[in-house]
């Protein structure tokens, strides 16, 4: 009964705060769409410059082969090592290919070398691009040898081994597919944790909490009044992000909607619990916001949002388990891409539920204590 009045009050206040509502609707949409454009670690359009010191038909054939690959964009020809260095310094090129004089002769002898200068500042894409060039150069050399041998009426078997990888769940290894399910975790963490912490810190800052605790309302009712509306917005945002990811970005959804909903609810409990905890260590809204900000980076870095958890140093790996996002990421990626069922994800669900309970209990106890 009293809770009803607390909820109505929260709704009225939300209606008076259109900035918050806009953020709750547009931030998920914007983040999801932006990510779909930006989160691209596929190696395409790497800018390349070439110094062809050989100027032979062979070297031109190689240049054409490299230039026609969609991994590279040929930005121009250079005449000296200084010019290449300048390209890298000015970021005009991320990769430079040097074809030394005598390349045509050497390639026919089967002992040609090429130099590839790589901009290591963008190591994720450029090292992959350098490996592409190495592969193309190998193919080119083999092609030349095969032609030479064929000209003498022979057949050459170079004894190459060709592995045939079969990529499961994400056959084209698209970064978007990997990142899109994670966006839900990001949106819920950044937005909901902040809204929770701020709405409690605000009542403390403005003194309205002091008036409220003079009424017969119980601390648990105050908390429910605060958290239920935020939880509902969180569920709405989770649905919104899922719909965009599946229908606009065409990321497959292979698992069960019910399982994802269950996991989202548990994750929301953990996020709201953390928000509550943050509000109890903050005297005002600014502190609450900064504390959330401070917490958001470790959870992104430790959770596998960008870097795989198995790449973390051994002592940090257990720490990553204490981050609710770690488990939610496994669950969203599992449900979206692998079509995992509850039994495959039970461990993560249990961890998340445990963390949610811990955050909530500690947060509620601290909230209760700080009312005195």
């Amino acid at each position: 009964m009293r809770l009803r009045y607390l909820l109505v009050k929260e709704l009225l206040q939300m209606r008076r705060n259109p900035a918050m509502l806009r953020m709750a609707v547009f931030m998920p949409i914007m983040q999801t769409l932006l990510l779909s454009f930006a989160a691209n670690m596929d190696v395409t359009n790497v800018p390349l410059t070439i110094w062809d010191a050989d100027r032979s038909p062979q070297s031109r054939a190689l240049v054409q082969m490299v230039g026609s690959s969609n991994a590279f964009v040929l930005k121009g020809y250079r005449m000296s090592p200084e010019e290449l260095e300048h390209d890298l310094d000015s970021a005009r090129a991320s990769l430079c290919l040097v074809i030394p004089a005598g390349f045509a002769r050497d390639v026919e002898r089967g002992e040609a070398t090429l130099q590839v200068l790589v901009d290591g500042t963008e190591s994720t894409t450029t090292t992959v691009a350098a490996a592409y060039i190495a592969q193309m150069a190998g193919d080119f050399g083999a092609q030349v040898q095969r032609k030479l041998v064929a000209r003498r009426g022979l057949h050459l078997n170079l004894g190459q081994i060709t592995p045939v990888p079969r990529v499961l769940y994400n056959p084209d290894a698209r970064t978007l597919w990997f990142m899109a399910p994670a966006i839900m975790a990001l949106v819920l963490t950044t937005l909901m944790q902040n809204i929770t912490a701020l709405s409690i810190a605000r009542e403390r800052e403005l003194g309205t909490l002091e008036q409220l605790v003079m009424t017969p309302v119980r601390p648990a009712e105050i908390l429910l009044g605060k958290l239920v509306p935020v939880g509902v917005i969180g569920l709405f945002d989770a649905g919104l992000v899922s719909v965009i990811v599946v229908h606009a970005l065409h990321v497959p959804f292979r698992g069960s909607v019910a399982l994802l909903a269950l996991a989202t609810i548990i994750f929301l409990f953990a996020v709201l619990g953390l928000g509550l905890l943050v509000s109890t260590v903050s005297h005002n809204q600014q502190q609450a916001q900064l504390t959330n900000f401070f917490l958001s980076y470790p959870s992104m870095l430790l959770s596998g949002f960008i870097f795989p958890v198995w790449n973390l140093p051994a002592p940090l790996q257990p720490v990553s388990r204490l981050v609710p996002m770690t488990h939610f990421l496994e669950i969203t990626r599992g449900v979206f891409l692998r079509g995992s069922d509850a039994s495959a994800l039970a461990g993560h669900l249990a961890w998340m539920a445990g963390l949610a309970t811990a955050f909530f209990v500690v947060g509620a106890l601290r909230f209760h204590k700080r009312l005195d």
Binding site: L6, K9, L12, E210, T215, P216
Partner: protein, 313 residues
Amino acid sequence: MSEPAPAIVVRDLVKRFGAFAAVDHVSLSVARGEVFGFLGPNGCGKSTTIRMICGLLGPTSGSIEVAGLDVRTHAEQIRARVGYVAQFFNLYRDLTVYENLTFYGGVYGVPRAELRSRVEHWCERLDLSRYGRVLSGELSTGVQRSLALAAAVLHEPAVLLLDEPTSGVDPIARRAFFDVIGELADGGTSILVTTHVMDEADRCGRLALMDRGKLVAEGTPSEIRAMGGTDIWQVSADPPSRALTLAEQHPGVDAPALFGTRLQFRVSDGTTAVAVAQWLRDQGVTCDEPRPVRATIEHAFLQLLRRDDGDNE
């Protein structure tokens, strides 16, 4: 019928924060229908006492009963029977007057069927009706005070706690506010009000004066006035500031204070007001014959606290 139980009984109340005793062995009782004024300088422990009466703060020792219930064991029931107006405006600034009142009436458990008519009644009585749909953050301080009072009385509390309810309010609105307080008391509500404003103190049935955690005086306004002594003398002096400086130097003159061009002072043994006036004239100050003035609460207040800086409103 037997005498009704007092609405608030505080016995030997102590609250320590570390080594600091914010409230130091305070006892007081507020009768049903009484307006009890709680005076004292800032930081003397009034607000701490009020917070303990609401059960928001546990006492270090001592006991508190409100409406016959022990605060330690029945804090929630007590809060349902107490109304509270804070020193600062603590209602929701982003809600309208009606929304705030509906909310507070609701959480205090006013039946829905009655809530609307009670809100209308109090808006009418406190002159809030025309602000009904205005966001309360946009109201003037005086109207905000009325709104806070309305929110505190919708549930017809047995006890009303007012923590400096009229700070920042003009005298006319303050008078209207106290008229309502008087009516509530006549209706049987017990009211504990802290204040700095002396004409408000005069309108209380009984007063207690608190200083540095201790109760230093208690009684009706006239009893308190009497504690301030009656031998206050007044002369019109020119130049007044020189008269004050001189009076401060004269042996036997106590607590001299200026009110415009009028110099007020007490005299202790060994001198008389006439002698002081003559001395002032001898020093070149124009000054008339001293007249006795009736001691006010403010005089008593300053006397009891041994303060002479007179920085009250």
